[in-house]
């Protein structure tokens, strides 16, 4: 784990760490936490490294690289025996309760903990406590090393290079872990623009040298590279969604800046020219004046025949509700990528949450058909983002792709995505030839409810859309019979989705199918649940895990078949009310027996999920367990 003040390069360090490990054949899972702040408040990342695939975070920290004193006091209790803490040698005298960026609630907790453990007032005293718990402390004179770097670079002004404290901690960390420096260098080259690569490599070298000389073999952990032949990628959820959209044919993306969605749009804009097999294509990214314009201009682009999407999080989606209704009423295949974060209102703007499922299902007045997909990991983000456009156009309805902050900002190693052979299904979009000699009716009644769709501008077709109830031509109609038929036409398309989309695309099942215990969940807790039930399996506790991927229309019959007769049904999600559990109860009549919920704004870790599930399996849990891990 590495942490420091926001703006101190924590983000860059996270990527360099992760990539350097990836280059060495290790599997990486990275979690990012940051405040809604530009500079100064605490942020950190937590990487889990292994020789086999890792799916989630754990609570334990083996090595903490602290850019500043706050990082130490924030995380010292997470560092396990035999672990290490890299710390600024000059900050030992800092009176920790006087660190100005500590919020009052945390200061009070810290004070209480210090009194209880009889810890003195300085950072040194806190580190003494760590040492007592068999944690090694590695003081590094960051500024002295930087001064040296400055000398080498002929830059006497230290302020210009203090940002490189992040690279120093990287150097010291990897030196302690006795890791191949060449791989770290490669990650640095991949991260920074050419003109600052050299200075960072000099900083890396000096940090390595210092640590090797000063700490020798004091740290017991070792990181070894592994030879791998397969191609792998290390990426975030934001990046996976962006690539998935491109694959799925998205050619217009609209957005209004919001955390944690905006990174996706910026990434797309940076790649606006797309390579294809024959010729270049492009994605036009439009930064609109608000989310209202974002959804409605995306819908407009869809009407003109482009595949279009918008990306947002809760506050933005709230503004989109009316536009979503228009899209539902006019059967517009618009895709909305919805990154949930801590809510309501501004809530926890940079933190995680999964409390918007019910909102996504019901946003907009009245009743209309929509599809809701929920990805459970970064790889699913990629494929679901692409698939969303096929579903939207085939069934002519808005698709909401639910993701959460944990996935957006986590990064993970995967074998390179195989995307060849991904089919574009436009649901029979009519061409001018198809339309010759007929009088086109955009909302023609059909058996399935799906009317032949043509884009605005197609020769031989003139069409009307309206947010009012309308007749087959798209003109306003308030007639009762027409209303009934139109409602039924739109709504029955959901039956078709239910029937045509295979169950395996709507849900995943892991673990023991015959077990009488089953966890149900959706979204980012997936990885922690899979790892936990594997660990519990080894201890003789059998659990299955039903991960829901299509939440609307919920494949109720298939869910029912899985959950029928289970003794324990454990609903696990990152919200207060157990929204999925409630929906399953409503649609299947089967109620969860236990709830494991988290609403601290931090993602679930394997450790805490394992603990909660074990408590349930051993009868030591209450009906509702609330998870708390993560600072």
């Amino acid at each position: 784990m590495a942490g420091g003040a926001q703006g101190a390069g924590v983000d860059a360090a996270a990527t360099i760490f992760g990539r350097a490990c990836g280059y060495g054949g290790l599997w990486v899972f990275g979690r990012r936490e940051y405040h809604s702040n530009i500079k100064g408040l605490h942020s950190y990342f937590h990487l889990r490294l292994a020789k086999q695939e890792v799916l989630a975070n754990v609570n334990d920290v083996d090595l903490l690289a602290a850019f500043d004193a706050e990082t130490v006091v924030r995380h010292v209790q997470e560092v396990v025996p035999k672990g290490g803490i890299i710390v600024d040698a000059l900050e030992m005298g800092v009176k920790v309760l006087e660190i100005p960026t500590l919020p009052p609630e945390f200061r009070a907790e810290l004070k209480k903990w210090m009194i209880e453990n009889n810890i003195g007032e300085t950072l040194k005293d806190v580190l003494e406590y760590a040492k007592k718990h068999n944690v090694k402390v590695f003081p590094v004179p960051y500024r002295a090393i930087l001064a040296n770097v400055g000398k080498t670079l002929n830059t006497p002004q230290l302020s210009k290079i203090t940002r490189m404290i992040n690279v120093l901690t990287i150097g010291v960390s990897f030196a302690l872990l006795k890791y191949d420096k060449g791989l770290v260098e490669r990650a640095i080259r991949a991260q920074f623009p050419q003109k600052i690569v050299n200075m960072n490599i000099i900083a890396l070298d000096q940090a390595y040298e210092f640590a090797e000389k000063t700490f020798k073999a004091e740290f017991k952990h070792k990181l070894e590279k592994i030879d791998v032949s397969e191609e792998r990628v290390f990426l975030t959820g934001n990046q996976a969604v962006a690539m998935g959209k491109v694959l799925g044919g998205c050619r217009v993306q609209t957005y209004y800046p919001i955390t944690p969605a905006a990174d996706e749009s910026e990434y797309l804009e940076a790649h606006e020219i797309l390579k294809t097999r024959d010729e270049e294509e492009s994605i036009v990214v439009i930064q609109t004046e608000d989310e209202i314009a974002a959804i409605n201009s995306a819908s407009g682009a869809c009407l003109a025949g482009a595949r279009a999407a918008t990306s947002t999080s809760g506050p933005g989606f709230s503004l989109m509700a009316e536009g979503l209704g228009w899209a539902g009423n006019s059967e517009v295949p618009v895709v909305i990528t919805y990154y949930q974060r801590g809510a309501p209102a501004t809530g926890l703007p940079t933190r995680h949450g999964q409390a918007d499922l019910r909102f996504a299902m019901h946003a907009g007045h009245g009743e209309f058909a929509r599809i809701i997909l929920a990805s459970g990991d970064i790889k699913e983000c990629f494929y679901d983002a692409a698939k969303a456009f096929n579903l939207a156009e085939k069934y002519q309805m808005p698709v909401i792709h639910l993701i959460d902050k944990a996935m957006a900002n986590c990064s993970q190693t995967y074998p390179i995505f195989n995307y060849r052979g991904f089919k574009i299904d436009r649901g029979g979009l009519l061409t001018e030839k198809d339309l010759e000699g007929s009088e086109y009716k955009r909302f023609q009644f059909t058996e399935t409810g799906i009317s032949p769709r043509a884009a605005l501008g197609t020769k031989n077709a003139v069409m009307w859309y309206t947010g009012d109830e309308h007749n087959e031509s798209g003109h306003i109609s308030e007639e009762p019979l027409n209303r009934r038929l139109m409602m039924e036409k739109r709504m029955k398309k959901l039956d078709l989705v239910d029937k045509e989309v295979p169950a395996e695309e709507k849900m995943n099942f892991f673990g023991a199918p015959l077990s009488e215990n089953c966890v149900v969940s959706w979204g980012s807790p997936k990885g922690a649940i899979i790892e936990s039930i594997r660990m519990l399996q080894e201890e003789g506790f059998n659990l299955g895990f039903l991960q829901m991927r299509m939440l609307d229309p919920l494949p109720a019959e298939a869910v029912k078949r899985v959950l029928m007769g289970k003794k324990r049904i454990i609903d696990l999600e990152d919200n207060y009310t157990g929204q999925l559990g409630g929906i399953i109860k409503e649609k299947t009549g089967i109620s969860p027996t236990h709830y494991v919920l988290k609403y601290t704004g931090r993602p679930t870790s394997t450790t805490e999920v394992y603990n909660a599930l074990k408590a349930i399996m051993t009868g030591k849990a209450t009906e509702k367990e609330v998870l708390m891990f993560g600072s």
Binding site: E231, I286, N460, G467
Partner: protein, 321 residues
Amino acid sequence: MVAKPSDYRVSDVYADWCPGCGDFGIMNALQMAFAELELEPHRVVMVSGIGCSGKEPHNVKANGVHTLHGRTLPFAMGIKIANPQLEVLAIGGDGDGLGIGAGHFVNTGRRNLDMTYIIHNNGVYGLTKGQAAPTLKRDLQTKSLPRPNINEAVNAIGLAIISGYTFVARSYAYDVKHLKDVIKMAIQHKGLAFVECLQPCPTYNDINTKDWYAGEDRKDADGKPQSRLYKLEEMGFDPEVRDWKDDFSKKMIALEKAQEWGDQIPIGVFYKKEYETTYEDRLTARIPFYPTRPPAKQKLGDEESNSSVDLSEFLDSLKTS
């Protein structure tokens, strides 16, 4: 193709505006303009908002997209960007564009998309029974207001000029020929054109009536009504910016003209600047094939519907092997 206005009539829709509504005049002017420009109905998209004006597209045979209250411009923008080959006209009411949709009014100006925006300005929210629209002057009390209007009026022409619209004009719903000519110029203008169309609301605006505009209350010595409207073009007003260095002064003169109201209301073109880059030009500078292969015209899949996109540029930068 030689077109007649009647080619743009819709046979199976009853235009349900009140008798004497200015919307009929606007409808006629649109149909005439389309005919004179020989626009093919499938290439035209009329995007409207909510209110009486929102029904305009249902009465014109060309593609119509009747959207949400205030959201006319975002829909129009999405359509135009996805397929710049379409002739897009956004049509909305005064409340739609200057009240609930004012943010879009301003921000669309910043983009200078090559499309036309026509606002119906009758000073009231007709369809909800005559509340004050953002264009109703302060202290006026139209028929259904319980108290006189307490808000200042938005100056639509002025707002358009300072928001970046590159063609700004005003016309009058009952002068169909003038309105038709202005709409034609707006459509032909390269860039974002704004037309404020003054219109009486015979049911709810009992102040700015047809007679008021015609000056029936102020007859000259011969008993001839003195119209409150006068045409800028007849006064030799030159709205066009022909050189960058004149842009500022042309804007200032147009803004000055935009202040006139009461007994002297100018109609015609206030401001016109054609050599400003459009949003489409700006996109083309980044994406050279944008005009011929815009988002709506891309193939997406090969003959077998396989996605034809090559993600290697994305993936290569994320590779760890």
